[in-house]
């Protein structure tokens, strides 16, 4: 599958799913006569039509020039494995950061998050990463919580005076 065909099929599936969900919305005409369904249905149709046209035009151009078939599309999960692993780890780290932020407090949670996030990128330079993590956390806390007086969770460090 070429890149355009992949994008086309993706849009077809997404548009179809959205359209089904739109048809299942309740019919309410209390606020206005159009109701909450028509606009999403138009959007779903536009996305499906664009996706279908993209996939079809790609097939036609392939029939005309078969050598284009060699230009296959993939997300290169294997060739660029390092990148994908980094992305996955960063995402997990980011989500966990959000979950523990209130409990650990901004400073500690940010140090941990930044240390891990930096370690995925700046591999095996632990001291450098620790310096990045601690200074980012403390500088940003100082700037936002102390200078700009935004409320940030203190968490475990709640006993500190500032």
């Amino acid at each position: 599958m070429t890149k355009n065909a992949a994008a086309g099929f993706f849009a077809l599936v997404l548009g179809a799913a959205y359209l089904i969900a739109s048809f299942r919305l309740p019919e309410v005409t209390a606020g206005d006569e159009i109701g909450p369904k028509l606009f999403p249905i138009i959007i779903g149709v536009i996305v499906m039509l664009s996706g279908g046209a993209l996939a079809l035009s790609e097939r036609r151009s392939q029939q005309q020039s078969p050598e284009a078939k060699k230009d296959l599309f993939s997300f290169r999960f294997i060739e660029e494995r390092d990148t994908w692993v980094r992305i996955a780890l960063t995402m997990i780290c980011g989500i966990v950061y959000g979950l523990v932020l209130d409990w650990l407090g901004y400073v500690i949670a940010t140090i941990i998050f930044m240390f891990f996030a930096a370690s995925f990128i700046n591999v095996r330079r632990h001291l450098e990463n620790a310096i990045i993590a601690v200074s980012f956390s403390i500088v940003s806390f100082g700037a936002f919580a102390v200078l700009l007086k935004l409320s940030l969770p203190r968490g475990l460090l709640g006993f500190l005076p500032f």
Partner: protein, 498 residues
């Protein structure tokens, strides 16, 4: 004429407050630094610097965001000139002659002329902006739902047809943006749409969460492939950051020609700095007596696009401030930031809060001068920042992105959304689906649907209503025209390169 000066006086009173001048300086400096970093453009800069505007009053916040925006425009060319790596697509053209100049040992004059050209472009753009805002705002005041709907459709189609890549992919991107915009409780009927039973989605997806995901975190993901890149910047070879009188004279006419061009391109929706810079470069090359020197370090080939780019960013402020409609990814992020602060740009802003609207415009005068000062004497220390390796820079951008997310709603659910949108944005980039139509549809989606439904109430559900109003009809015809034009243009390209 008198009214303009009166308005400018009101604006200058706001702009010249010491606190606002200070923030123009800080915002401009931070914008320059982020715009300069390879791979990070103005949209990323504005997205990750939003937290600094928290707790500010709306005028100061808007002034700061603008300073970040055109600071990034000033800074964008630094990386192009020094290391041949544009910060974003509007700085690509600056590589054409900027980097050859550095290789010829003329880095100093290149840095100087790019700052001077940015200043001239910005100043000329400012003058146009001052004269154009009031008329546009007063016309826009008369717009009803039908006109608003058609205007947004025109802005969206223009963005789709002018964005890079295929037309169909642009429409797909726009559709995804609309889909995301419809998530949450429908304001008019109270129906909960597409939340999959997740309560956190009932209020809809915060626009800025998507922006930070797409423009900050996804950009970091994109850079993961070449994290070990290090750039060599030798400050000793830059020399004096100044241009000779002869060089300046050579650049003067190109700068003066490119500025109005850039401004007009900036006003039109969908046409951003990329198109402005390419057009001005092509124009200068065709007008030049020595077109063969272009691409080999012709100083006017650097000056013209730089002036066009900054004039373009002034032009982009016209639809943003007067209509509340952004014309590019970066201005969309700015609009999102403003809405969060409770400022709704548009014609009503000029009526109800002239001190904010005109304060921002007046602050750009000060901003341009401050940025010229930042970018001439401080040019050499600033370009040293290019030596910070990617592996140190990327974690910091990541940290800024996630931290900014937290400030939006103090909700841990947003961290999940940011991570997912970053992944989604990265996948869309891999499929060559352009992001600006998505961003615009997302921020305009709620308003578009509302205008559509309000117009339908007035017209008793008669779709022809949009064609009966002259302004609305003109805008829709323009939208159709932009699609036809883009199809023909693409056909021509495929005829030449089958």
């Amino acid at each position: 004429m008198d009214a303009i000066f009166q308005n400018l006086t009101i604006g200058l009173q706001t702009a010249m407050l010491p606190i606002n001048i200070l923030w123009v300086f800080i915002g401009g400096l931070l914008g320059t630094v982020i715009g300069m970093l390879p791979g990070l453009g103005p949209a990323t800069g504005v997205a990750i610097l939003i937290p600094i505007t928290y707790g500010m009053n709306p005028a100061t916040a808007l002034i700061t965001m603008c300073a970040v925006y055109y600071g990034a425009m000033f800074g964008g060319s630094r990386a192009s000139i020094m290391i041949n790596t544009p910060g974003d697509s509007s700085a690509i053209v600056s590589c054409f002659d900027g980097y050859p100049m550095t290789k010829n040992g003329q880095a100093g004059p290149a840095l100087a002329i790019s700052a001077i050209a940015s200043f001239i472009g910005g100043t000329i753009g400012m003058v146009f902006l001052v004269f154009l805002t009031q008329p546009v705002a007063s016309v826009a005041l008369k717009f009803g739902p039908a006109e608003m709907f058609s205007l947004m459709i025109f802005a969206l189609t223009a963005t789709v047809t002018l964005s890079e890549g295929s037309l169909l992919k642009g429409f797909i991107s726009m559709g995804i943006g609309f889909m995301l915009a419809t998530i949450g409780i429908d304001g008019q009927s109270g129906v909960i749409r597409y939340t999959f039973g997740i309560e956190d989605l009932q209020d809809g997806i915060d626009f800025l969460v998507v922006m930070i995901g797409l423009y900050a975190v996804a950009e970091v993901f994109k850079n993961y492939r070449d994290i070990n890149t290090e750039y060599k910047v030798d400050a000793k070879t830059i020399g004096k950051v100044w241009v000779s009188w002869a060089d300046f004279k050579k650049c003067l006419m190109p700068m003066l020609r490119s500025s109005p061009l850039g401004f007009v391109v900036g006003v039109l929706p969908g046409m951003g700095g990329t198109i402005a810079t390419f057009m001005s470069y092509a124009m200068e090359k065709s007008l030049s007596k020595h077109p063969e020197k272009f691409g080999k370090g012709a100083i006017e080939g650097l000056a013209a696009p730089e002036a066009a780019n900054n004039a373009c960013s002034c032009g982009a402020m016209v639809p943003l401030l007067t209509l509340g409609i952004p014309g590019s990814g970066t201005t969309a992020v700015m609009l999102g930031a403003l809405m969060m602060l409770g400022v709704r740009p548009g014609p009503i802003l000029f009526q109800q809060h002239p001190e904010i609207a005109w304060g921002v415009i007046a602050s750009m005068i000060a901003g341009n001068i401050i940025l010229l000062i930042i970018n001439l004497p401080l040019a050499i220390p600033l370009v040293q920042l290019l030596r910070i390796p990617q592996r140190i820079m990327l974690p910091l951008i990541l940290g800024m992105g996630y931290m900014g997310t937290y400030f939006l709603n103090y909700s841990s659910f947003d961290f999940i959304l940011v991570s997912l949108f970053a992944l989604g944005g990265y996948l869309l980039m891999k499929l060559d689906i352009p992001l600006p139509p998505l961003v615009l549809a997302l921020i305009l989606g709620g308003m578009t649907e509302q205008a559509f439904r309000n117009a339908m109430v007035i017209a008793n559900s008669n779709l022809l209503f949009f064609l009966e109003k002259p302004i609305s009809l003109t805008l829709l015809v323009l939208a159709c025209f932009s699609i036809v034009y883009s199809l023909r243009k693409r056909r021509k390209i495929t005829e030449i390169h089958p």
